[in-house]
């Protein structure tokens, strides 16, 4: 969702703020107090809270269905397999992929990127080849490529960003060339909030025949994602940032590519037949799912996707955009505060520094007020270096946040300033 699209839908259909109170009821953790104060949870980019249906689904699975998938002929295994596979279908629909076999379960976005680096990367990237990433990548979209480059004698190229935290597309155009073998780029930056122009990035890469991996860890919970419209070749995300359990996520890969790729790990489930002379690999997606998977996690993620999609994504986007605008306005009234990440196309993230006050102290003081934010480098050290700060404080939003949460944040920051005055 772009800013303009969001503001348009705001005008047409004001976000149903009265619904938010009801939505908050679905999240038991939000009723807690922390240090005697009501919890204000503004660390959604780190992980999101879980609605009761997700928690209940996990309990129900372990209480009535627990068994291994794809292995048993008995009733429980059949039920578990059915639910596990229907979670895959839910992911396929969420991302608008064309076939369930294009959805591979992983532990999360990190494992998804490593899967592609290991399998596609090792197969296609050689000495002198280049991989393009950007200056705003999470460490999980830097380190796997560095490892691969080191192993193969390939080179990592980095698209620079401007002072607002936007990609310099002209530099990207210049980096692309016959040596480029892969582009791997974040959809929505976790430390800046920037939404990258994925369609354009993909189109430019494809004109050189170069495939594109998109890190959607932050995008999936906040933006409509249509992998076919984006045109990307791989898309990864984590369930725990989408109101689902930890330890589960998925990779979308175009079937044609996945088919031609070697397995990621060897083991049970990923084979058709094994003899000591020869092993036949299983078909997609099982070729990439060795061993007993996180069955409960997958089914829990399925429940989270059902919950999330029922809320209607365009309403969520418009509402979150309103919150972001409100938060930006409120924070801008603090003179010594500087927002890091001011892209025109932006969602959900308020990253900032306050002159003379370390982010860590901000975090501790806010915590004493029951306000949970993240402080540090957010696994994006190169972004911190780019903006010349050791760390930032980051408030990250979800649809269950309210203007009252932002007000609490601003009041908490007043307390910070008071202590340091």
């Amino acid at each position: 969702m772009t800013n303009s699209a969001a503001s348009k839908s705001v005008a047409e259909r004001p976000p149903l703020i009265q619904d938010i109170a009801r939505i908050r009821e679905d999240f038991p953790i939000l009723k807690q107090t922390v240090h005697g104060k009501p919890l204000v949870y503004l660390d959604n980019a780190a992980t999101t809270q879980k609605p009761q249906v997700v928690i209940d689904t996990l309990v129900r699975y372990y209480t009535t269905e627990n068994s291994n998938v794809h292995r048993g002929v008995h009733y429980l295994s059949e039920q578990a397999t059915q639910d596990y596979e229907s979670a895959r279908t839910k992911i396929r629909r969420l991302l608008n992929a064309s076939d369930d076999c294009e959805i591979i379960f992983t532990r999360g976005a990190t494992e998804g990127i490593n899967l592609v680096a290991h399998s596609y990367g090792r197969q296609h990237i050689g000495e002198g080849d280049e991989i393009i990433i950007s200056a705003m990548e999470h460490h999980s979209n830097i380190v796997p490529w560095q490892i691969l480059c080191q192993e193969k004698g390939a080179r990592l190229r980095v698209i620079p960003i401007n002072d607002d935290g936007e990609l310099l597309m002209d530099d990207y155009a210049k980096l692309l060339g016959h040596r480029t073998k892969l582009v791997s780029i974040v959809h929505l930056s976790n430390s800046l909030g920037t939404i990258n122009p994925i369609e354009q990035i993909v189109e430019m890469a494809h004109s050189y025949g170069v495939p594109v991996l998109v890190d959607g860890a932050q995008a999936v919970p906040h933006l409509p994602v249509d992998v076919r419209r984006l045109g990307c070749d791989f898309y990864v995300f984590s369930g725990h940032k989408l109101f689902g359990p930890t330890g589960i996520g998925a990779v979308y890969g175009r079937a044609e590519l996945l088919d031609s790729m070697p397995p990621y790990q060897g083991g049970g489930d990923m084979i058709k037949s094994v003899t000591f002379e020869k092993t036949l690999y299983n078909s997609l997606p099982y070729k990439f799912e060795a061993g007993t998977p996180n069955i409960a996690g997958a089914i829990g993620l399925g429940a989270a996707i059902d919950y999330f999609t029922a809320l209607e994504l365009d309403k969520i986007c418009a509402y979150e955009h309103e919150l972001l605008k409100y938060g930006t306005k409120r924070l801008s009234t603090i003179g010594s505060l500087r927002l890091i990440g001011t892209a025109r196309e932006k969602a959900g993230i308020l990253s900032f520094v306050i002159e003379g006050i370390h982010a860590h102290d901000i975090g501790t003081i806010l915590d004493s007020e029951g306000i949970a934010i993240r402080t540090g480098h957010h696994c994006t050290q190169p972004v911190m270096d780019r903006f010349g700060v050791p760390a930032t404080a980051r408030a990250s939003l979800a649809f269950y946040n309210t203007k009252a949460d932002i007000d609490a944040l601003v009041k908490g920051l007043d307390r910070v300033l008071e202590i340091f005055s």
Binding site: G356, H358, D361, S368, T375, A391
Partner: protein
């Protein structure tokens, strides 16, 4: 005084905004760098050692209140001490920060460092307070690599 007020008491904030011995030490014969990747704190500790005594000490770097104020207080406490004594002060300081909540500690060697006792109520911040000490120890042992609290 609330735990937070104790942590950010005036004297601590004063050491943060006007740290003592905050300089690159001329004539230093030992130095080491410390880095806390968790919060991005960086510190360099400089020592002038004469006959096993810390004749002078300085530090530079950036960090949060706890890390900077501790470094400032540390330099005051170890100046003029024998190397072994400095290490013993570190042990006492470490014990104070990692003691069970509400329990007593041995303050014999601590002097002004005692004002940081409240850090023990914020376990996640203990790292910030020990970074400068690990760096000091690396300098004493003349380790040249960067030390890290991770």
């Amino acid at each position: 005084m609330s735990q937070l007020e104790e942590l950010y008491q005036e004297i601590v904030l004063e050491h943060y905004s006007r740290p003592r011995n905050f300089k690159k030490l001329e004539g230093a014969n030992r130095s080491a760098q410390g880095y806390n990747p968790f919060c991005g704190d960086k510190i360099t500790v400089y020592l002038k050692i004469e006959d096993g005594v810390i004749a002078d000490v300085g530090f530079q770097g950036s960090g949060c209140v706890i890390s900077k104020a501790t470094a400032s207080l540390m330099t005051e406490s170890v100046k003029g001490k024998r190397q072994e004594e400095a290490v013993e002060i570190f042990h006492s300081f470490h014990n104070m920060l990692t003691r069970p909540p509400g329990s007593d500690f041995d303050n014999e060697r601590l002097g002004d460092l005692e004002i940081l006792a409240g850090v023990s109520e914020f376990p996640i911040r203990v790292k910030c307070a020990v970074l400068c000490w690990h760096t000091l120890r690396a300098a004493l042992e003349q380790k040249h690599q960067t030390v890290s609290t991770e």
